[in-house]
Symmetry: C2
Subunit: 463 residues, 2 copies
Amino acid sequence: MTDQPCDPQTALLADLRSGLPASAVVDDPEVVASYAHDMASFCAAGRAAVVVLPRTVEEVQHVMRTATAHRVPVVPQGARSGLSGAANAVEGCVVVSLVKMDRIVEIDPVERIAVVEPGVINAVLSRAVAEHGLNYPPDPSSWEMCTIGGNIGTGSGGLCCVKYGVTAEYVLGLDVVLADGRLLRTGRRTAKGVAGYDLTRLFVGSEGSLGIVVGAVLALRPAPAPQLVLAAEFGTTAAACGAVRAIMAGGHTPSLLELMDRTTVRAVNAHARMGLPESTAALLLCAFDTPEPAADLAAVAALCRAAGASEVVPAETAAESELLLAARRLSLVALEAVKGTTMIDDVCVPRSRLAELLEGVERIAEKHELTIGVCAHAGDGNTHPTVCFDATDEDESRRARASFDEIMALGLALGGTITGEHGVGLLKKEWLARELGETGLEVQRALKATLDPLGILNPGKVL
Amino acid sequence: MTDQPCDPQTALLADLRSGLPASAVVDDPEVVASYAHDMASFCAAGRAAVVVLPRTVEEVQHVMRTATAHRVPVVPQGARSGLSGAANAVEGCVVVSLVKMDRIVEIDPVERIAVVEPGVINAVLSRAVAEHGLNYPPDPSSWEMCTIGGNIGTGSGGLCCVKYGVTAEYVLGLDVVLADGRLLRTGRRTAKGVAGYDLTRLFVGSEGSLGIVVGAVLALRPAPAPQLVLAAEFGTTAAACGAVRAIMAGGHTPSLLELMDRTTVRAVNAHARMGLPESTAALLLCAFDTPEPAADLAAVAALCRAAGASEVVPAETAAESELLLAARRLSLVALEAVKGTTMIDDVCVPRSRLAELLEGVERIAEKHELTIGVCAHAGDGNTHPTVCFDATDEDESRRARASFDEIMALGLALGGTITGEHGVGLLKKEWLARELGETGLEVQRALKATLDPLGILNPGKVL
């Protein structure tokens, strides 16, 4: 550390620069301001003191030692594509952007693992492992821009989860820089291992509040067969949810089981002229990547018809399948275009309660005179009710926030969780206590205090 | 609490009895002594003060409140089939046997979950879910006797892990009684959820040292097709391990990929006249439960031949498959019969280092003039080198322990872990520090101190 000048901000910058290349420390106010937010609505952000862009583990350790010495908060960031405000700057903080640590260190087809730095883009990794005949399943909608470090921080999901699970299930081991700059190695490179407590999973989904992930060993799978998609139209959401129940109770393992409600279907058509059937109340997309997907789709088609589908259209080619998936992937962008701004909820309920959730969202939309489109990872019971509103209209914004909260309350009442895959961040931290209960919250706070005694890691987030 | 008499033991018993049925508190010394050990060799056990057999969550809470008040250690136990001494009594402790909490509370085919108490036997659960067309994959060798609570405590594996993963991957949520008697509910009933830190996984594999699991929400899968097994004989272990590498690098997903070395094959033949080929150095068993297992087995047979297999025999019927699996399942019992006692190691290495581990074990066996049979979950790199020895022979026992330790050292040197699925317990706790490193151990100790500040939960185990 240098001799400490009077101004704490100057002293902080000097100490940061003492262990980082000049280009890695950015204090131009305009540039710093551009790192203030992730993509969540309704989440406040403070003014960061500085943005650092480390390229090595040692540099991250230097940042954390400096932050500890100065008692300054640190906010780690990936691509800032998150939807909960977890990456938002807090007043006077050091923003640590991990995007320059973007090396794929290793891909091993025998061990079926990849070793990566946190700034690797999800899609870049997916394409790299595909060249080895492998697959990294987690596929959040933002996969073309989001980073693996961000995926680990939030515990991201995606379309594939109904068969392949979420990010957490693919993290075998982590390198984590702790609040005081120590480097912790968790987990393993082997397929199995139970030596000591599972620290890996403690950091996955912790939104940078327990340590900064600087490396990860990820599990890979053999590349699956191309998936074939079926689209089924239903006159009511209840009927569509009945089909979801029948498919899952029937022992099927679709690689995707998605639902788009009428609002979403219309928004997608308006946005991209996809020609989806606007008269249906709910469109179900179901896919299989099994050796004989057509046979599986035929079985599911029969279940959909029995559940009341008005139309069932199996794709016959991979291209047709891709078109249907593209429509689904456009949902959030299309809903955003409806009113200019969206609040995307992420309530996950037991599959059997899906219909009650969707009907409840309809009631909430009517009550608040709002447009709320729902797309859902229906096979997981994970819904994204998306409130469309005009952010310049104060009253509409207030109603949007109120409806958002009512949807979370409904999710909890149905035995669900306030977040299936987007995380808590700032957006839902008031709600976390309601889900965890008193003892849960006490234990979570105690763990946070143990790993971050000064409370400098992403303070004010999650808890 | 009652007025405290002079004798601490009498006071403890009186306070325990104040909140438990008379039959749930056992202090007959002979009966208490029968709860001293799990199935690990070379692990000391203390004399418990008392054994309690609660039937409800509230009774477990009463036990923990009492233990906290008396500052008495508590050792939770399932079926005591563990192999690391984790369930061994410590001096003056309260043994909490969870075997009476054995209700399957719920099986839900739509949510694909089971809600169970900790004392449910693994095989009982497996059969119960099979009646609903479902499968609970984790299948440790002791599955006919071990409990789900014990499986969760140790993070158990089994034969199916190469395709279906370990116990941890099937635990969605837990009810845990903490050291001070508070009840903590972790996780969820939904397919996905990232609300707050992942406390569920922190308790899985913690061997009762952080809390007592009193309930679990388990994930289930649709029942797979019956598996078809292939046996391949190899003249060297290196060739067999080459086949394992080729199978995994080839993108196959066997439901089982096991290896038995010559010592194990001979032991099984001697024990049960199975007629396995004693002239081979290693016997590989590979199975598929895919829609067309015969096609998958044919591909694997070709890989085995290319890797140098002297004989490849695909089973043609489910009955033939079962016979081969029965031989594998007999391995540990058969090896135990060789000399009366065994020490079963549990080293897991990267798949590509499997041959080096097996060859190293051979050298260690020669050096110490011992019989060490190896059966391995080869597809996971998880090996069980099993040292056969005469426990009444002091010198042989000393050599057995020395060889056991050398095998762990070799596993670590090859980038592996000291335990793939059996846990640390007493047997390996000196070794854990070598695997975790200083920072890892410090963090694990800090977490233990946070959740168990008085150090009363299974003290002296794991860390």
